[in-house]
């Protein structure tokens, strides 16, 4: 028996990373700002995105959304009410979106060309673990946390919070009856991802949405200039 060691030094997710790099280049060439929204199930990603899409369109910008779920197109139908083009991705049991799924759903998306968009939002599958490993070529990864979830969520899921570029706290309108400890939540997020931008929002009342839209505008300008 002759045994030997062969060095590989290869990323396990290399295929995904290569596809994501290709997507990132095509987003940059098209001048579209791409955001990947991640959270637990039930945080309110869809309600937050619905509000965001409505406001972005009302401000005269062009936006579209891809939405991932294991099954059903319920979220796509909700989001489409905003007037933005929306495409559902059903993963049929897979717990995250990957770059290949994004590429496939961008290809042949009738009536939608990246070059004609200012923003593309990707609503990931509700899961705070697996989506953290899969680069979708996005410019900004947004992690969402609702006031009903407990202030220690960032400590329980450090990988996801640490990999995010912005954090959004949702359902702030019910923070008080939920006994939400705002200071503790902010401290925990900052402990895991020092210096991250945090937005305290309510899709229902519109609280914090102006600031969020301002951030989107700034980030988009950085991409285009």
């Amino acid at each position: 028996m002759t045994t030997r060691i062969v060095e590989l030094r290869r990323g396990i997710l290399k295929k995904n990373d290569e596809l994501a790099a290709g997507l990132r280049a095509s987003y940059a060439a098209a001048g579209v700002l791409v955001l990947n929204l991640v959270s637990s199930p039930g945080t309110g990603k869809t309600a937050f995105l619905e509000r965001t899409l409505r406001e972005v369109l009302a401000h005269g910008s062009r936006a579209a959304a891809l939405v991932g779920d294991l099954e059903t197109d319920n979220d796509a139908r909700r989001l489409a009410a905003s007037g933005a083009p929306v495409r559902q991705i059903n993963t049929h049991g897979i717990c995250h979106l990957d770059a290949e799924m994004i590429g496939k759903h961008l290809d042949g998306w009738e009536g939608v060309a990246l070059g004609e968009l200012d923003y593309l939002f990707i609503e990931n599958v509700g899961n705070l673990v697996c989506p953290s490993s899969y680069d979708l070529g996005e410019r900004i990864r947004v992690v969402l946390l609702s006031v009903t979830e407990g202030e220690d969520k960032p400590l329980k899921y450090p990988t996801m919070f640490n990999s995010a570029d912005a954090a959004v706290i949702t359902k702030m309108d019910i923070a008080e009856p939920c006994g939400f400890d705002r200071e503790l939540a902010l401290k925990n997020i900052n402990e895991i991802r020092p210096g991250i931008r945090i937005f305290e929002t309510s899709a229902k009342t519109g609280a914090g949405i102006e600031e969020w839209l301002g951030y989107l505008g700034e980030e988009r300008k950085k991409r285009v200039s």
Partner: protein, 124 residues
């Protein structure tokens, strides 16, 4: 729980690597696969091992060992100007000055480091 897709990807990559080896190594059998997995990679070694036997069955990796080398998080502290290992992933503070550190130098790795193969009979 995406360990099954990770293991599938590892088996594919190693199989491709074997196919690209020189002719004398054709039919080589894999004895061991060594991974480098960062503490921030969201991967549970036990889950990888659980999937390993199932996915490697019927491939040149069948009966091989999976060795997971876990890497702690290393942060860079700006004020101290040094890199330090963290004991956990609950707080990203410099162990020397307690400053919050945003710069991660290690901990996100998810790599196949190397494989040990048995070339079988090698003709001189």
């Amino acid at each position: 729980m995406h360990e099954l897709s990770l293991v599938t990807s590892i088996v594919e990559t190693v199989t491709e690597t074997l196919a690209a080896l020189p002719d004398s190594s054709r039919g080589a059998r894999v004895l061991e696969v060594r991974l480098r997995v960062g503490a921030l990679a969201s991967v549970i070694p036990e889950s990888l091992e659980f999937c390993w036997g199932i996915v490697s069955e019927g491939t040149p990796l069948e009966d091989s060992r999976l060795v997971v080398n876990l890497l702690p998080v290393v942060v860079h502290c700006e004020p101290c100007g040094i890199d330090s290992e963290l004991e956990g992933v609950q707080s990203f503070r410099c162990p020397h000055c307690s400053e919050l550190c945003g710069e991660i130098r290690q901990g996100r790795e998810l790599e196949i480091d190397s494989i040990e193969i048995d070339d079988g009979e090698v003709s001189e």
